[in-house]
């Protein structure tokens, strides 16, 4: 299979979109965990 810049770009951008979205989920999860710790401390 010869390299094709369009093919590479399409596959790369697909995973870039998915990884970016998953990163937002992970960062929101850690932010929530911090909030939960803070709430437990205030109890």
């Amino acid at each position: 299979m010869s390299a094709n810049p369009y093919l590479f770009a399409a596959y790369a951008v697909t995973w870039l979109i998915h990884i970016t979205y998953i990163s937002t989920i992970v960062s929101r999860y850690f932010r929530l965990k911090r909030e939960i710790t803070e709430l437990n401390r205030k109890k």
Partner: protein, 230 residues
């Protein structure tokens, strides 16, 4: 259930890697377009998974409108959000394929335009969910979701009903496909469907946790006379 997630995650990762290998190396090279045709193995499954999620969103929204079930509301939100991600992939990979094949990035034909409109409807849905603080937001969003779901069959069948530049459907339509290519297409569809399921699962857990934290904050602000809680 906690153990099932990492096991399914590993299985899905293996499936995605195998599907990627099949898309890049296993599938035969198309004679006219060459290797750029392989974009199809990501472009089409992304759209199909997006449509599946919009139907889940539709079902959950109808259930919410009838029963006012909060679980249905969360499922609707999650399905719409992940569906938008998959439709974004479809909308981005399409022009990357079109440039070397058609010589243009975009054309305002019925399939492309209706897909963009569908994407805008669901982005509006997510903006409504994110920025409206009214108590009726879930019901309004559910009504919008019903409208969005009605557009999905229109987008899918637009290439049957209108003369478009977009290729004919390879499954159940006028187009034809090598059985080995169809096998790779279905494999990638399955891999992305499993991946979408896991992402939805994570997002569902996150949304449930978010609502519990919001409730705890609300309760704390009621109990705290100084009102120092944010």
């Amino acid at each position: 259930m906690k153990r099932a997630f990492p096991i399914l995650g590993v299985l899905t990762a293996i499936l995605l890697i195998y599907a990627l290998y099949q898309a890049l190396i296993g599938a035969p090279t198309e004679q006219t377009m060459g290797n750029v045709q392989r974009i199809f193995y990501y472009h089409v499954p992304s759209a199909l998974v997006g449509f599946m999620l919009f139907f889940v969103n539709f079902g959950a929204s109808v259930l919410y409108l009838i029963k006012r079930n909060p679980v249905a509301d969360i499922v609707a939100l999650v399905a719409a959000e992940v569906g938008v991600v998959f439709l974004t992939v479809n909308l981005v990979t399409g022009p990357i394929w079109a440039r070397p094949v058609w010589g243009i990035w975009w054309t305002w034909d019925m399939r492309l335009t209706s897909t963009l409109v569908l994407w805008l409807i669901y982005v509006s849905y997510l903006f409504l969910r994110r920025f409206s603080s009214s108590g009726e937001t879930p019901a309004l969003a559910a009504a919008l979701a019903v409208l969005g779901a009605l557009c999905v069959p229109f987008v899918y069948f637009s290439i049957w009903f209108f003369r478009t530049q977009h290729p004919q459907p390879v499954m159940g339509g006028g187009g034809s496909i090598d059985p080995r290519m169809l096998h790779v297409l279905l494999l990638n569809w399955l891999a992305f469907a499993c991946f979408a399921f896991l992402v939805c699962w994570s997002r569902y857990r996150l949304e449930t946790l978010q609502r519990e934290v919001d409730q705890a904050h609300a309760l704390q602000s009621l109990l705290d006379p100084s009102g120092s809680v944010r």
